[in-house]
């Protein structure tokens, strides 16, 4: 199965404007870990919003796990995202008023499929989230603490736990380590990839730091992918 399949994709934010994103062809294999590097303004956030199903391309095809996203309604795409995509932001990933545990459990709030996957593994969502948080290095007391009292590094770990809870087949991380120092950054990436590998989760890791590519199966430059502005 192919995780991401793109063909003749074209997207512009406003009608009758030149496209911000044009990708003739791109594929990501299932279970692959991929570093996507691009300077700011290269269409990074546009591509991510298309992959997450927030927006749909005006032209071309975008399929995730053989599901063409453009054939789904907005509501169906929200549902698809809830079930299949774990998403980590650069920062401010958490609802500050919920505990670390409740933040992680948000992943199951909108997805019954994730709950089913956890149930199949013989766990409750609470236990699974708890284990995941411990695995990511949070202490018992930190797990119960409200998210705003955690350090940035701990918050990113909670975000990772949420993204991975219920074993979604695709993980999208949008510069999740940019707020971390080098030491924390490396251990965070290693842990993230280790946990993803257990579920054979495909990882798309966006960063501007090419030095991280040693951790990933492949390295793609967005500028090589995106033909917008080149042919026009």
């Amino acid at each position: 199965m192919i995780a991401v399949s793109v063909r003749d994709l074209s997207f512009s934010w406003k009608r009758n404007e030149p496209a911000t994103l044009e990708i003739p062809e791109w594929q990501v294999q299932n279970g692959e870990t991929l570093l996507l590097r691009g300077p700011s303004g290269s269409g990074k956030s546009t591509l991510l919003s298309l992959l997450a199903g927030i927006n749909t391309p005006q032209k071309g095809e975008l399929s995730l796990f053989d599901t063409p996203l453009s054939k789904l309604s907005g509501r169906q795409r929200d549902r698809f995202r809830a079930d299949n995509i774990g998403y980590i932001f650069q920062q401010f990933n958490l609802l500050p008023y919920l505990s670390a545990l409740d933040n992680a459990l948000l992943a199951c709030q909108f997805s019954s499929i994730r709950k089913e996957r956890i149930a199949k593994a013989g766990e409750t969502p609470e236990a699974s989230a708890h284990n995941m948080l411990k695995r990511l290095g949070l202490s018992e007391s930190q797990i119960q603490q409200p998210a705003h009292s955690l350090s940035v590094g701990q918050q990113q770990r909670v975000a990772a736990a949420r993204a991975l809870l219920g074993a979604p087949p695709l993980l999208i991380a949008d510069e999740p380590t940019s707020a971390l120092d080098a030491e924390h950054r490396d251990s965070f990436i290693q842990l993230l990839l280790e946990l993803s590998a257990k579920n054979n989760t495909t990882v798309i890791f966006v960063t501007h730091d090419a030095a991280l590519s040693r951790y990933f199966d492949s390295h793609v430059e967005l500028n090589d992918l995106n033909k917008a502005g080149v042919t026009a």
Partner: protein
């Protein structure tokens, strides 16, 4: 999602608490206006429950009613004893109780009447007056106190009091040489009777310098009227339908100008004239509620900017823009529901804590009742208005989360 809304609200508890308080206070005000009106009306109706007709010298009906029964305002003219005697001897009249007003003790009105007052006066659901201690006055220089009057003056049966002329708190002409003995104290009725000091017409006549009837032959006492004139009289009729005809007869009474009124009808007239004020109060209190709800709207709109990240996080875990919309609407609904409920609780708390003061000041007894249908309607209207107003921030959040998606640039 309700859980999420609650937690989000708790996170902003300072501003949320203020909003709830604003809504609660305004709801209390809205309900209190209506409730006070109802309580006052029932109370007034209770006070005259056994009286079919009230007569007095020519004046406006409302003035006669207010001064004779509720001791509000004063009577300018008296009716003669002869006219009273004539009317009470008519076949339609079952009983007649004369009352004379104009004196006071420490600001409390003195009602001079006859023993028949205790026999015929009815309040509430046709209840008679009963004594907490002692008994009705029998002879001269005796008084009976209403429950509230007794506690205000701090007197008990056997004590003496002196009566002052005029109805003010302080009078320059106290009838010091005529102390009156308290022979009875009435049980609480929740009507203006509680505030009054009841004595016999003859006692009052003596105080005012008239002759004491005791000096005359007792066998002849019926020939002497107990007073030259009286302020008003309460009548009970043998059959209610006779009231209208008798009223017309009295209003066109030839020997002297008189006014007769049907208490129930005159009260209705009074309420009708006061309706404008009630409506003004209702409009004002509705405005206050609206201001409370607009405060909520302001706070919700102001918080939207800082909550954009929250919305993006929710969208990332699969919430649709519709869910974001629903989240804000449920927050507003929770706020207004809690606000309305606390407003209702505050109303009962106020009633409970102020009941004593209100009764001693006005004689009005607040009864604790479940909210009426009209009150439920008002509460419902508040919640619906809150809901409608919440559609504004909810719509904005919906648009915002559609535009932002997962990328928030704040």
């Amino acid at each position: 999602m309700i859980k999420l809304a609650i937690k989000s609200l708790l996170n902003r508890r300072a501003s949320v608490l203020l909003t709830v308080i604003a809504i609660a206070v305004s709801v209390t005000l809205l309900l209190a206006v209506e409730r006070t009106r109802e309580q006052v009306q029932t109370n007034f109706a209770n006070t005259v429950s056994g009286t079919d007709l009230i007569i007095g010298a020519r004046t406006s009906q409302i003035q006669l009613l207010l001064s004779s029964v509720f001791h509000i305002g004063s009577m300018t003219n008296n009716m003669s004893w002869d006219a009273f005697d004539d009317i009470r001897s008519r076949p339609a009249v079952e009983w007649a109780v004369p009352i004379s007003l104009g004196d006071s003790v420490g600001g409390l009105p003195v009602v001079a009447t006859t023993e028949d007052y205790f026999k015929h006066f009815r309040y509430g659901s046709k209840q008679s007056l009963t004594f907490a201690s002692g008994d009705a006055f029998k002879g001269e220089n005796q008084v009976v106190l209403g429950a509230e009057a007794a506690s205000k003056l701090n007197k008990k049966v056997g004590d003496n009091i002196t009566i002052a002329h005029g109805s003010g708190g302080i009078s320059f002409s106290e009838h010091d040489d005529h102390p009156l003995t308290i022979v009875g104290i009435l049980k609480r009725t929740g009507t203006p009777v509680d505030q009054t000091i009841l004595t016999s017409l003859t006692s009052l006549e003596v105080i005012h310098g008239g002759e004491s009837h005791d000096e005359h032959d007792h066998g002849d006492s019926h020939a002497h009227p107990p007073a030259e004139s009286i302020s008003a009289a309460l009548l009970g009729l043998k059959a209610k339908p006779l009231a209208l005809r008798l009223q017309r007869q009295i209003n066109t009474y030839k020997p002297e100008p008189l006014t007769a009124l049907l208490p129930g009808m005159t009260l209705q007239e009074l309420w009708k004239t006061l309706r404008v004020f009630e409506q003004a109060l209702t409009v004002i209190s509705s405005m206050v509620v609206l201001i409370g709800l607009l405060g909520m709207l302001t706070i919700m709109l102001a918080s939207l900017r800082e909550r954009r990240r929250e919305m993006a996080v929710l969208r990332a875990v699969g919430a649709g823009p519709g869910t974001v919309f629903g989240l804000l609407v449920s927050e507003a609904l929770l706020l207004t529901l809690v606000g309305a409920a606390s407003g209702l609780a505050l109303l009962y708390l106020l009633e409970w804590s102020l009941a004593g003061v209100i009764q001693s000041q006005t004689g009005i007894v607040l009864s604790f009742a479940w909210p009426t249908i009209a009150e439920w309607w008002r509460l419902g209207l508040v919640v619906v208005t809150g809901f409608v107003l919440s559609l504004i921030p909810a719509w904005r959040a919906y648009r915002q989360s559609l535009a932002d998606g997962l990328t928030v640039k704040v």
